[in-house]
Amino acid sequence: MFASEKKDNIVTLLGNCFDLELREFDLGGDKLYVLYLEGSTDKELLSEQVLRPIGLEPGKIDTQERFIEVTFLPVKVMPVDTAKELSRHIALGEVAVVAENFSLTFSLRKVAMRAVTEPPTATVLKGPREGFTEEIRSNISLLRRRLRCSTLRLDKMQAGRYSQTDIVVAYIDGIASKKIVKKIKDKISGIDIDGIIDSSYIGKFLEEKTYSLFRQVGTTEKPDILAAKMLEGRIGIFVDGSPIVLTLPFLFVEDVQNSNDYFKRDVRAAFIRIIRMLGGIMAVFLPAAYIAVQEFQYQILPIKFIITILNTTSATPLSPTIEMVFVVILFEIINETSIRMPKYVGMAVSLVGAIVLGETAVKAGILSSPAVLITALSGLGLYCIPDEAGSFSMLRILFLGLAGIVGMYGIVVGIVVFVAYVVCFNEFETPYTAPYAPGVPEDRKDGIFKLALKEMKTRPRSIPNINKKRMGTDD
């Protein structure tokens, strides 16, 4: 096919879109076309490295090698034959060169992206503050700064029929389990969807229990956390367009851990982790326990508590269960509102929420102050483990319902079902509740308690990995 025909086909395939740029060169009678999308290409670099040299070239450029010789491209070129493929590459943001005897593409992408800043969901008092952005190459460069070994593997894949989203599976060869890497790659290859908008889409395809309350894929927005996890044997999955990197395999105890823990004193870190666990337990069980002891197992309460509760609840019109459900749902509404509302009205709505709930409803006798207090404490506890705040919030409503029906007995039954359900998660050959069930004593050094870094001489046995030794000579 002549170059001009090919060029016309490409333009037609791309729908003659307004941002498609075309530069035409006549080199000794032979046409050479350069096509690119205006918003996706570094025009300066293109002009300097490609267009100018071609324009200044006196002779023909009739082969790919000649083209490479003439231009000063710092990137790899890929020969592509058909107009369809060329148009696809142009849509991906690459530059296509169409000549009489060859056609090729290369990437000089430059897209608008935000600066590397501290992610809002993972703030630290001390420690690195870099966070991933939506640009995959930038993210990979951040990772490479942390892991400068030659065994870092970055396997690129694509998913999404229309989005053609780049996905990179990152792992350290010699540490990560090859079986798990293969399994992940197979799952990603098997994704057949129109578009991947965010990494969570990939996460949902990788999970085995789709409707579970608990996530089975870890996430992180920080390169230091990702590097640390990869050094333990986990695999990172970058998705272009998303600052959230997925990590697999995932353990429940990872949600209790925080990067802050590794930058402060170990004793303090251990204490804080216990506080987080207690906060999570309080968030889930406190409202339910309050209902249970009020309606069913009142004999648990000491007499002074009973008098206090009687004083404050005797005048309220709602039954304790209904009241507590109402307050919890109100809390959820306030929570959702605070995320969605514009910044400018945020203060006013917060005041309304606080005043309405905290003062007026209690004074009017519609709600009792213990119910509001319990819900507030529970709400605070939810954000001790922010990644599971959504799950815990659902769980607490569930337990609330059980407690309202049969009291503490319902809570116990719920606990048994919940634990039996969670301990059976076994994705990617990793028990979800390790290192506590099944017990892996060596891994408990960095579980709910935390020992000193010097004690962590081996990699976790809870997740599949190859090389167990972390400190001392590498075998």
């Binding site: 004999q299 609840t313 269960t321 209690v362 004074k363 009291g407």
Partner: protein, 379 residues
């Protein structure tokens, strides 16, 4: 198995609806319950049981911090405790709850007439009352011990609990709890003890805060006596010294010896034993050992009110031993020696008295009943 999973969801949904319908979860809340903190049991005029329940009454408001706690004494009568509680329910329109009852008080007049075991058994089995609830006997009417107007820190029922907790002597003799009473009824013991509370006086004090006209009433209680129950009913009361003495002697005998420690509060004046034996028609014989102990209290010289207080520490020794009655007699000797007593002329008196019968009926000598009576007096 997807279809099975959906089936489980349907079954679970149906069952949840069943739970809601059948569980009665919306019937009772805390405000629907009458929280009883003290219970008094007396005899009503018509001979029925009269229950007086000290119930928490709170005046709640929507605002926090401005409340007052009062108590109300509600009475209910009936042939049984159930009927009494039902009357309380109908008067208060609240379900009586004994889960926080800290004391059950029985009047001595009631205890002298009626067996308390069925009442205690009902309370322990059918209500949520704690088994460590204080159980005391009162001089006079039990409902007078309860208070209606006092704030929680010196409520009478709580006061009793605190007195018992503070007085270790009572704890040694009898823990003064419902369960201890109940369990001791199953022990093979001839008596058991309950604390005995007396209402000394009721003091009314004028309001002592500026601007307050409300006077407060204080009940002064004393509890240094014990009520002694025989098989079913109360038989006598023991004052503090008697209670101490019985506790002391019982503890010594339970170890099988009767020696005094140097720190003891008593001095042994006399200890002697006499034996009697009698042969019955069928050839068995009853042996009796009487041990008399006289103690002098080292604490003070107050003499005891009752002389020669007797209680039985009874043992039945059924000896199905080979070796004849000589062997069984030597067992009796061993037993007396265990009490620190010298050998006495038991065998001699037996053979002198019943020697002929013993020769006549050697085959029937397969049972000895040993009865040991301890008489303790304080001089």
């Amino acid at each position: 198995m997807k279809w099975l999973k959906s089936k489980y969801v349907v079954i679970a949904a149906v069952l949840v609806i069943v739970f809601v319908v059948t569980s009665g979860s919306f019937k009772l809340t805390l405000v629907d319950r009458a929280i009883i903190v003290g219970l008094a049991i007396d005899e009503a005029e018509n001979g029925e049981i009269e229950l007086s329940a000290q119930i928490i009454v709170t005046i709640g408001s929507g605002e926090s911090g401005t409340t007052s706690d009062t108590f109300s004494i509600v009475k209910g009568t009936g042939k049984t405790v159930i009927e009494g509680l039902s009357q309380i329910l109908s008067k208060r329109a609240q379900f009586p709850s004994l889960a926080h009852c800290s004391a059950v008080i029985v009047s001595s007049s009631f205890a002298e007439k009626y067996d308390l075991k069925p009442i205690v058994e009902y309370l322990l089995r059918n209500t949520k009352i704690e088994e460590n609830t204080v159980f005391v006997c009162s001089e006079g009417r039990a409902d007078e011990v309860l208070s209606e107007e006092i704030s929680i820190s010196i409520v009478s029922a709580f006061a009793i609990e605190k007195i018992i907790a503070a007085d270790k002597n009572f704890q040694k003799m009898s823990k003064g709890t419902l369960i201890e009473y109940y369990v001791s009824r199953y022990d093979d013991k001839p008596f058991y003890i309950l604390p005995y509370v007396k209402l000394e006086e009721i003091v009314t004090e004028p309001g002592n805060s500026v601007g307050s006209e409300i006077s407060s009433t204080k009940r002064i209680l004393s509890m240094d006596s014990s009520a002694c129950f025989g098989k079913d009913t109360m038989v006598l009361t023991l004052d503090k010294k008697e209670t101490e003495m019985i506790n002391f002697v019982k503890k010594k005998f339970s170890k099988g010896i009767f020696e005094l420690d140097k720190d003891t509060a008593f001095e042994l004046i006399e200890k002697k034993a006499t034996a009697g034996c009698e042969m019955t028609e069928d050839g068995s014989f009853n042996a009796e050992v009487e041990i008399v102990i006289q103690l002098l209290s080292m604490k003070d010289n107050n003499s005891v009110k009752k002389e020669n207080l007797t209680f039985e520490v009874t043992e039945e020794q059924i000896a199905q031993l080979e070796g004849g009655w000589e062997q069984r007699l030597s067992d009796v000797f061993e037993k007396c020696r265990a009490y620190g007593l010298d050998a006495f002329g038991f065998y001699d008196s037996l053979s002198k008295k019943e020697g002929d019968k013993m020769k006549e009926h050697p085959d029937y000598l397969d049972k000895i009943t040993l009865k040991t009576t301890v008489k303790v007096s304080l001089v």
